[in-house]
Symmetry: C2
Subunit: 332 residues, 2 copies
DNA sequence: GTGAAAGCGCTAACAC
DNA sequence: GTGTTAGCGCTTTCAC
């Protein structure tokens, strides 16, 4: 049913390798234009497509990339994925999609699968605790791995300047006059969460202050809501800052339930400026946050993977003052 | 560096085919347990993984699936993708991710790429106008294609009961007393949009009424906003219904800009109940909508692809009354 | 129960 | 300029 290179060769009255040369643009100049034309015609006539498996076996290269993220339905990771996919497409690479569902076991199985697929590179956003053995197997085989968003010892990473940005955010809030600030952080084993917390504390420390309260969430709407409710019911604070926007929305929701107006009674800030992209102009009140260039992070990570660059990269973020902090509102 | 099946065989003191038999669980019973054990030990010792390209070339099967959607960062398609990915993972299939970015040309190139990859099946959410030749090439080669969400002549599809559900939504709104209803539909060349509009019109017709106004949007927040603004500035309506939730959010935004309270001055409804999942409990006012089981659609489509079922399937939706229609509010 | 040998479809030396 | 040949790593008859 499907034509092979031999059939194309016969059809064109040449040898298989000549067809191969045409296909791969080898020695294109040293070939009689007429021969090339005959081959091309045969290819069209038989609707010939090379069998990738044979090419890969022979060439010992797959031109395949693996994308392994914790949750593809999270817009943050979807944007990252799209960044990788777009570069892969431009460069003629194929991208495998893997969703670890935040589970280290599933992640480990996918890593082994990617190994078996002979991918040339893996873009990984690791779960909190990636399987060391699975990671080692990739390293042993020389499979390039680049991390996006989150660090892990021994691997290059493309990330945001979370710590510095978070410090700026802290200084911004202090400048607005907030004094008793609570922080709802992301999971302790995720570098992103850690950096943001650390940067925020830097800002407070430099001002001779401390966090009024600290809770650990899981970067979900629900956890932001729960943590904020606890804080609001038990403590006196004038602002709550969350480790990402999703949790910040949970905070806003909790404030609403407690009958607190934002920013009148409570200042609220988040981080990443991502989950609400389509609604950015709709959500009220607009969140004070830090914009993380996630799509660009994905593209840059893919580029480095394909270009064989081994270093890490830290991308710049932007503070986005919203309407959830006093000064913005009074300034309007 | 990497071990081959021959090296494993030598290490175990057997022939390559014996290793292959162990690997593929062939004739496992007719094999001396001791031999099998030796082979297994050799596999472990050399950290052997079969080369997928060689297996595929030999077996003439790839166990690969293609996922081609218009925009992976749209939660609707991300949920669909995740549904497919989860089934693929369970069944030991690999999934290629392709994002057509709503562009027919890019879609066509991806279709050809999937053909070249010898995928065993393609889950396609087509752009408005898929390239007929590219589709034909897949068909000629006998590549299984299943559509999700949107229909296309000649291909099986897994979709929602859009028309019936939209009719129910229409009846619901009429029952609440809305009389002058405007409709913001999705793109004319997308069956989903068409069905929802048709179903809504069915409801009105049965009640002896007609749409007060009709606009065509593009399923984006922005287009919903634009269409609603035009409607509100030029016409007298008491409700605006959008073809999906994203546009409905745009409608809500436009209502806010016009100083209209919802549902006091204007009733608003959407369709799909998807884009706002994380914020479902946060968004105010809550949208009246129809829940579409997108993730399940993805899973079911993948199952049918893998099980070789050729028929179409229509999944049931659920009406979700929110706070954007009068009765709900007064009922509270 | 296990081995020998052929061949999946392609590409890259090496001939001529 | 183009053809011949070998072989990538695996599976699968067919022997024995």
């Amino acid at each position: 049913m499907r034509a092979t290179i031999r059939e194309v060769a016969e059809h064109a009255g040449v040898a298989p390798c000549t067809v191969s040369r045409v296909l791969n643009d080898h020695a294109a100049d040293h070939m009689r234009p007429e021969t090339k034309e005959r081959v091309l015609a045969a290819i069209r006539a038989l609707d010939y497509t090379p069998v990738k498996a044979a090419q890969r076996l022979r060439r010992q290269r797959t031109h395949v990339l693996g994308i392994l993220v914790p949750d593809i339905t999270n817009l943050y990771f979807a944007l990252l994925t799209r960044g990788v996919e777009s570069v892969a497409f431009e460069r003629g690479y194929t991208a495998l999609i893997c969703d670890s569902n935040h589970e280290p076991e599933r992640e480990a199985r996918y890593l082994d699968m990617l190994l078996a697929e002979d991918v040339e590179g893996v873009l990984l956003v690791p779960t909190g605790r990636p399987d060391a053995r699975a990671m080692q197997r990739l390293a042993d085989r020389g499979v390039r791995v680049i991390l996006a968003d989150r660090r892990l010892d021994g691997f290059p990473v493309v990330e945001a300047d979370n710590r510095a940005a978070s410090q700026r955010l802290g200084e911004h809030l202090l400048g607005l006059g907030y004094a008793r600030i609570a922080y709802v952080a992301g999971p302790a084993d995720v570098s992103t969460a850690e950096d943001r917390l650390r940067g925020f504390r830097d800002a407070l420390r430099h001002a001779g202050k401390k966090l009024a309260s600290l809770r650990l969430g899981t970067f979900t709407f629900e956890s932001g809501f729960q943590c904020a409710r606890e804080i609001l019911q038990r403590e006196e604070v004038d602002a709550i800052v969350a480790g990402n926007d999703l949790m910040a929305f949970g905070v806003l929701r909790a404030a609403e339930e407690e009958g607190l107006s934002v920013p009148g009674d409570l200042g609220v800030a988040g981080f990443d400026h991502v989950p609400h992209v389509p609604y950015a102009t709709f959500l009220r009140p607009e969140l004070t946050t830090v914009e993380v260039p996630v799509h660009e992070m994905g593209r840059e990570a893919a580029r480095r993977l394909l270009d064989g660059e081994d270093g890490s990269l830290r991308l710049t973020t932007t503070l986005v003052p919203g309407g959830t902090c006093i000064a913005q509102r009074s300034g309007k």
